[in-house]
Symmetry: C2
Subunit: 159 residues, 2 copies
């Protein structure tokens, strides 16, 4: 017997519009950032998260989780960005084994310069193409999808 509930036409349309589109959009953003600023999208995101954090700093693991990135991958990228002066490593005060990644002034300046072009691109390829209704449906639906996956993985492990 075949218990598999295959996707119907509408579901298939949604599926084929989801991952491929995300891949395309990510590629567009990556190119824009790389050409204009010499930053990868991941590096940009790192700056965004650090900049938004309490003291411009976050612990490595916390940052990796927010970025949906592996810890070792983050270690590598922070290394690159530290070399470029965008970020600095600092020991964590209350835990000898902890390390804080902290955004530098140069990092904040870079973010400030990069943000307008980035947001413009996000609008151009995604947001301005969507109707407000679609925008809301995506925020609600995909937000729920995201939260469920995160919640489900919380009881589990990391990477």
């Amino acid at each position: 017997m075949d218990h598999t509930r295959w996707l119907d036409e509408e579901e298939m349309r949604a599926w084929l519009a989801f991952i491929p589109t995300a891949t395309l959009v990510a590629r567009e953003l990556d190119q824009q950032l790389k050409e204009d600023m010499g930053l990868s999208h991941l590096q940009y995101e790192i700056l965004v998260h650090l900049n938004a954090a309490e003291n411009g700093a976050l612990r490595m693991t916390a940052l990796a989780e927010r970025l949906i990135n592996s810890k070792s991958g983050l270690t590598y990228q922070i290394g690159q960005m530290e070399r470029d002066g965008l970020v600095r490593r600092r020991p964590c005060e209350w835990s000898k084994s902890g390390v804080l990644a902290e955004i530098t002034d140069e990092g904040r300046a870079m973010l400030e310069r990069a943000a307008p072009g980035h947001v413009e691109k996000v609008r151009e390829v995604l947001i301005d193409v969507l109707t407000p209704d679609e925008c809301k449906a995506i925020a609600d639906g995909l937000g729920r999808v995201r939260d469920r996956i995160i919640e489900r993985n919380d009881g589990g492990s990391c990477w």
Copy 2:
């Protein structure tokens, strides 16, 4: 002056629900396929596209475009899959410089075994979490986003 049209709250919600969720979903699918079948998501997609093609075969470039992958990356993956017997290379009849990637019987068998678990996971993490309305909005909206990017890049280059 600052002409930047920043994202309003709803747009930001959609943005923060899009790429991160796609990343998470892709990770889930990759894990499921790798654990259960030893296939990466990319390899699975290659099988899907070849299986759906006219004679179970596509030219390298055509396949790369559908997969949203670089040509060199595809060369590598086809190499891996050829080694594993899932795929075979065949010269293109009407063009000496062309190469066809063709799915093997073993490849079709693998796909048949992998598909149910894959679809089930797609439902579990994504489709079954969305309401029909959201599903439609995603299909319509993101489909439009995708088509615009593809169309815009057609006049341009490849990778």
